[in-house]
Symmetry: C2
Subunit: 335 residues, 2 copies
């Protein structure tokens, strides 16, 4: 394990994870850094905004941390994204390390260097591409996850099957019960294979000029769900679960996959404990509201929504779709 | 002139510059971009914080701007730094163009890719290295600058002499009156030579691993003045003016330059219409307060302040100095 050199360390965590692992991490880092500080943020997607980010900067400056400080993100995806963005921008850049403690963060958000905060009008709208020096995944931390958080993480595991690896999807079909029971060997394989696929994709397209966008399968609809319901009401992975169903159904209606594929994916998402229907976010014009929110997705171009679709099992494509068809999918997939 | 491709343009300006040049720039850009929007921010260093930055993001999202948007910074250093940081982080990065309308921005801040906002505890503490695609300097815009802003810009012109080019310092001695009278030929030479020297330095060290720090001659003391007085009370260039005197005096007391050099620099700063004495920022322990503020300078390492000093005329060095000696300099140079 190769920790970055530094004259001080700042652990950024939240009030759920901090009490569980904060002291152990601080003790371990104390052997390596002259000074170790901790800042504890409130837990939840609804706090992934500027006000909370500012508390990281306040802590860094209050402790006199300079450019030789190293930040450690101890928590899930929200902590990782915010800590990474703080590291990218504090004094124009200091090193940071990811210590993801949720399945979602271990298989997705801690790898690849996307950092961001939310804006009231859109998720992850302000951020930077900034790579962590190291990602440390301890599977033991998954033992303390709630069942709901576990399911949310499985959404990001499942996505790697349809977009890139149908063998992995076969394995997931066979291993879903073991994963939900937190079988250590099954989790180890799921985390390893997910990170391998993600690293392969990001290695070819760090800045999302093209290929990387396929990792957002289910996310265009999912982000609309999160923003439409208010951040934190649905977990990110829950939005992605229902979002994958919608994206698969849109793929089917465009003739890219057959009904059997969609049914298989829906069944797997359901077995993961995830919603397979999207919520109604606007009683008067639900599809219209989804479309409105999706148009400010970062993949959109000149108001045209770019969907990640399944172009035959194991292969993804990014393309537009007619509004009328998208409306049909939303009407069929929300309840 | 090679403008970046884009589907929309957002002009970011302030309520001083916007009324003067906003319409002309919007008209010119309208020939190149399908849609041109403008956001007008309040003018002044005291607004270089998150709240004002947020207004740029609000405008981008309200207008449905996507990753194909291009930002244009129309104004001085504050507008350039904030617009650059917004461009660096909006959707994790969109292109931007600098159109600096102050001397300070034309000779310094628009070139080199440093972007940032202030934190209440320190100047430019949150930012990114992010290069503009293009810098457009129109000397005619300097005609509308106040005499005070003009002098503040001259501080950043003067600094290039002692740190890198004594021939340029000779030329400044001969041309100061012409510059203050806004002689177009003199301004053209000052802007061109300043940008040449800055580009040469930044080309060797974009991320300020070493050499680039010499561009901060006068800035360590200057930033303490700005923060100590409250942002916007002294102009940045005024702080740099008095700061260069202090840094030169510290260089002299360390035996790096002689008294004649310091006197010559002080005279040039005075002829530029700049303060040559620092303000008293704390009546009970002025030097202590300067030291405290300088310790959170970005060049500091483990609480040790790194000063940019003149190591013989035309050559700069970055090094520490004993606190006692720094206190003597502050006591001698503040009034």
């Amino acid at each position: 394990m190769d920790l970055p050199h530094g004259t001080s360390a700042l652990i950024v965590t939240n009030d759920t994870v901090g009490p569980l692992y904060g002291a152990a991490v601080a003790e371990a880092l104390g052997k390596r850094y002259p000074v170790v500080h901790t800042v504890t943020l409130p837990d939840g997607e609804e706090f992934k905004g500027w006000e909370t980010l500012q508390r990281i900067f306040d802590a860094l400056l209050a402790h006199g941390c300079d450019r030789k400080a190293v930040l450690f993100a101890l928590g899930g995806g929200v902590i990782g994204d915010m800590t990474g963005f703080a590291a990218a921008t504090y004094m124009r850049g200091v090193p940071f390390v990811q210590i993801p403690t949720t399945l979602l963060a271990q298989v997705d958000s801690s790898v690849g260097g996307k950092t961001a905060i939310n804006h009231p009008l859109g998720k992850n709208m302000v951020g930077a591409f900034y790579q962590p020096r190291l990602v440390v995944c301890d599977l033991a931390t998954l033992d303390t996850l709630s069942a709901r958080e576990m399911s949310a993480g499985l959404a990001e595991v499942i996505k790697y099957g349809p977009i890139a690896d149908m063998e992995f999807m076969d394995w997931l079909d066979a291993s879903m019960d073991a994963l939900r029971a937190r079988d250590r060997a099954a989790l180890a394989h799921a985390v390893r294979r997910s990170c391998e696929i993600k690293a392969w994709v990001v290695g070819q397209d760090e800045r999302e000029g093209g290929l990387r966008a396929i990792l957002n399968f289910g996310h265009t609809f999912g982000h609309a769900i999160e923003a439409g319901m208010g951040y934190g009401v649905w977990l990110h992975g829950e939005g992605v679960g229902a979002g994958m169903v919608m994206a698969a159904e849109l793929s089917r209606r465009l003739g890219l996959v057959d009904d059997a594929f969609v049914q298989r994916l829906v069944a797997l998402i359901e077995r993961a404990g995830l919603p397979t229907k999207g919520p109604v976010i606007d009683a008067s014009d639900n599809a219209g509201r989804y479309l409105e929110l999706m148009r400010i997705d970062k993949k959109s171009e000149a108001g045209e929504i770019r969907f990640v679709l399944i172009d035959g099992p194991g292969k993804a494509v990014v393309r537009a779709a007619p509004d009328a068809l998208v409306r049909e999918v939303i009407d069929a997939c929300c309840a």
